[in-house]
Subunit: 568 residues, 2 copies
């Protein structure tokens, strides 16, 4: 199984890091992201070959009307192209030349007192490795864009400028042009719908009535740049592997220290401290989920109204879904374990079903496979273990038939996983040209139904939960669980699990040329989990579960990432 190419960083090239012995992210990564976008635009249509990409960064903000400024984290598309850490920037890429330019806020001298030394344009340019930096003031952006449009036109190969291409997209473009001779050079603005939130990314604003508005085009950039983000580059893969390995070690650290009597939030605090203290990871990718007992059945437990504030009980299963970010690339990993340190028979049975679901997925996951089929394979493994326990009574049906009846969605109401990258739920799940969302229980929650490609990174997160309103629905056959599911459930056994909570196991994997590689290095088998709970060493010397594809579990490669100070 060939892993997708990873990439090394060299000490003598410009990079970002959080200091000595933290991970180095070369600025080359962003240059490669921009080059990929430029190629994709040119490939899409010759009429885009003289266009300019223009984006605005995330904006500085305060909480409500106060002066409280939440810690800024860059908007994800802007981070993808430019890697800028500060708010209130803009950026542009000339497609014809690949030149990248940043527009930085021109700060007043007082800023230095409060926020620190004000960088010169040259310092910004060097910091972010772009071709030029200008101050974003008055009409600078508009004037630069006007100049770039002119340069783009003159750099056009005659064929493209003359519009003799045979591509149908281009033919369409010509109709919208100003003259007969050349297509109107475009300023490509980011506008589109995020399919996880349903929210619209609004096109960037310009200061005044912009004289260039006839050149604005907000239809094509979004889908192309989203598609660029779907397949990760070697440097992105290395970074995501790093984020996931550190997240894995932090999970092991937290699991070992979580004991009955502690509060769930204390486990959250242990995890956060490990990530930040030992690896400079200041942000989590999402709100920490540390659910014990029944809280394990609440998929996004841990929010402000349910803030990980239960005291952990001896008999609880704990479900910890925690992932840290480094340089805006995140991880998303879930471990489940018994608070006591030793699995009961029921805990073991449910856990085994979920782990078998991961095994089933890893045995099939490779380029060309449909994610929907992976989801169903995971459901089948879980249903098989529920049959073994006696919760599910298959009767005259095969497991595959029960899957098609969507019985699996009663126990796993979410999708098997999602792309992961700069966003936890990374973009590109439902782009045009790919399979649409399937509107059936469970499947409708899939964040993508695509066929897998080499270089995609995706979470594999099967789960089995006991959620009252879903169980009640299935038992009484309401709309969401069509008449008939009840007969495949044995309520006398099911009732024993009513406050069990749930088990989820979530890994971050990359699709390779002929399979997949699991970046997650967590204790996964029952023996491994009990070993870590007993205070045993992690990672182990020998991998007892090669089918989990944890390629670097025993290479001790992770040691070299640990940060400026050790934590013990």
């Amino acid at each position: 199984m060939a892993a997708p190419a990873l990439a090394a960083t060299f000490d003598d090239e410009p990079y970002y890091s959080m200091g000595p012995s933290t991970y180095k992210v070369p600025l080359r990564m962003y240059a490669a992201n921009r080059a990929k976008l430029v190629s994709a635009l040119k490939e899409k249509s010759p009429s885009l070959a003289n266009s300019i990409v223009f984006l605005r960064s995330g904006a500085s903000a305060t909480r409500d009307a106060t002066d409280h400024e939440p810690l800024f984290r860059q908007e994800s598309y802007f981070h993808y192209l430019f890697g800028v850490r500060e708010p209130d920037f803009a950026g542009a890429v000339e497609v014809s030349t690949g030149r990248a330019v940043l527009f930085a806020p021109n700060l007043p001298e007082d800023y230095a007192t409060v926020m620190g030394k004000i960088r010169t344009r040259d310092e910004w340019r060097e910091l972010y490795g772009v071709d030029d930096v200008m101050w974003d003031e008055e009409d600078v952006v508009e004037e630069w864009l006007a100049g770039a449009l002119k340069r783009g036109d003159s750099s056009l190969p005659e064929k493209a400028a003359g519009g003799t291409g045979s591509d149908s997209d281009e033919a369409e473009e010509k109709k919208g042009g100003t003259g007969e001779d050349a297509p109107l050079a475009k300023i490509l603005l980011l506008r589109g719908i995020n399919t996880d939130s349903g929210k619209t990314i609004e096109q960037p604003k310009f200061r005044n009535e912009c004289p260039l508005s006839s050149h604005f085009e907000n239809d094509s950039l979004h889908d192309i740049i989203a598609e660029c983000r779907v397949v990760k580059s070697p440097l992105e893969l290395s970074l995501l592997r790093h984020a996931t390995e550190l997240t894995s070690l932090a999970h092991a650290y937290t699991i070992a220290r979580t004991k009955p009597g502690m509060m769930e939030y204390q486990s959250e605090s242990l995890f956060r401290h490990y990530c930040y203290y030992s690896a400079g990871m200041r942000h989590l990718g999402y709100t920490a989920i540390c659910g014990c007992g029944p809280n394990g059945a609440v998929l996004h437990y841990g929010h402000a109204g349910a803030p990980n504030d239960r005291q952990i009980q001896e008999g609880d299963m704990c479900l910890f879904d925690l992932g840290a970010e480094y340089c805006c690339y995140g991880s998303d990993v879930t471990c489940s374990f018994p608070a006591s340190g030793t699995f009961t028979d029921d805990q073991r049975a449910i856990y085994t079903g979920v782990l078998n679901a991961q095994r089933a997925v890893y045995s099939m996951l490779k380029p060309g496979v449909s994610w929907v089929d992976c989801h169903k394979a995971a459901e089948a493994a879980i249903l098989r273990s529920l049959v073994e326990i006696g919760i599910v009574v298959s009767g005259d049906k095969t497991i595959e038939e029960l899957v098609e009846m969507r019985l699996g969605a009663v126990f796993m109401p979410h999708g098997l996983g999602h792309f992961i990258g700069i966003d936890t739920h990374d973009v590109g799940g439902y782009l045009p040209g790919h399979p649409p969302r399937i509107v059936r229980p469970g499947l409708k929650s899939l964040r993508t139904s695509r066929v897998l490609w080499e270089g995609m990174t995706i979470t594999v997160e099967p789960g089995c939960y006991f959620i009252d309103h879903l169980l009640n629905g299935a038992l009484s056959s309401t709309e969401d669980s069509p008449e008939g599911l009840a007969q495949y459930l044995d309520n006398s056994i099911l009732s024993r699990f009513r406050s069990f909570g749930g088990v989820r196991l979530e890994d971050v994997v990359a699709v390779t040329s002929n399979g997949c590689v699991n970046y997650t290095l967590c204790p996964r088998t029952i023996d491994e989990v009990e070993h870590v709970k007993r205070g045993g060493k992690w990672p182990p010397k020998k991998d007892e579960a090669l089918e989990l594809r944890r390629e670097r579990l025993c290479h001790h490669a992770v040691g070299r990432f640990s940060g400026g100070g050790s934590l013990e």
Copy 2:
């Protein structure tokens, strides 16, 4: 010196806490806040006696257009009145009866799968101790408000309803009334300007063209409720004392473990972990500032563009400005110490000046004293130590004359401190009827110029910094530092301090009937700081600096707040 009355929580009353052995906040605190507002409205004008206060809570939000939801923290005015932890609520208070009502989002059943069990109206009512809870759907809010207006009218004492009061405010109101008989009952909406951010709090939105809009009044509520928040109740004082004591212990924990060679962010991580792990404090009140060496001179260091990522050097002064929140009430404490553990002569000299500034303030701080005079007393103490070092040459001027020339603002460009409560920079600094902002160097940064009252909580945070552009300005006499300051500076000595950074010492104090009490229990004297750096025990058995008013430093009272698990 009588401390303002603190209040106890009783185990058998409804309270909020983060679980066993964390601090209990009784729901009574919010009831008292509402009662105070009701009294203030009635006192302001009889025409408000039949009005209804209506507010919306903070709204749920995502980062940009993604589905990433930053951890929600309640809008501060809504928290003050209702203590609700979730977004998307509304709340109302009937002034005539004091009845409090919440409007909760009516969540779809699917919400239970993702976010947890959906509470009934009765459960919400009990959770937040209000009189009624309705679902915020369709016209429920509008209908309830219409009913409340009616009830308010009929409950009006005849005199008020008839408008025979002599109060001039009321006379004005009458002109705006609908008829000759009664003033129009009002729905008071929160709208005003936050004087720290300069931003406007916009009045709450209503679903449709609201039929009640003729009753809307957005002129009076803001200043009255802001004024209510300025003087803290006994229960608020207890909570702020708790937040500050825990913050103080976390500082001591962090100082003891911060060593040269570590990264600044590792210290931030230690602080956060202590607060959250041992006391359930999930939020900081503001972005952590852990500046070492020259970074100590950057007032709000630690933001995304300067993320506490310097490696701490042996010779550095460290300036850590860190404060944690509990139940939306925060603290704001700064400690400064030498990374090496032992003060050099220069470090000792600057530190002593700043500590003397605190001493000068505590010796005068009591009801009736102007905060501007406290600021100037702090500046004088700092200038005196700068004279001793030789940086300032007073020549023919007294220290008081140098203060009036604003020389102090070259070294302390910020205000002495600010009100603190639900917001770090708490509201009410420049309300009508109080002294306006003074537009002179340093003083213009004061967040209030008010006269002190018993029950106010305020930070005392003198600092002495070496900020290049301010020093250069003073040395070359630009606009901000009028001609003449240069002659009072000895650049040959000053240059030695160019990369010193700064020292700030920040305490949270409450104004008592005849003085003040310091809630901050940090190592402050040079002996105390060196003792903690050596690994010595904190808090101490004996208070060697009674002039710092740390009333509970040696009472060991703080021990009983430590959380579910100890940290060592």
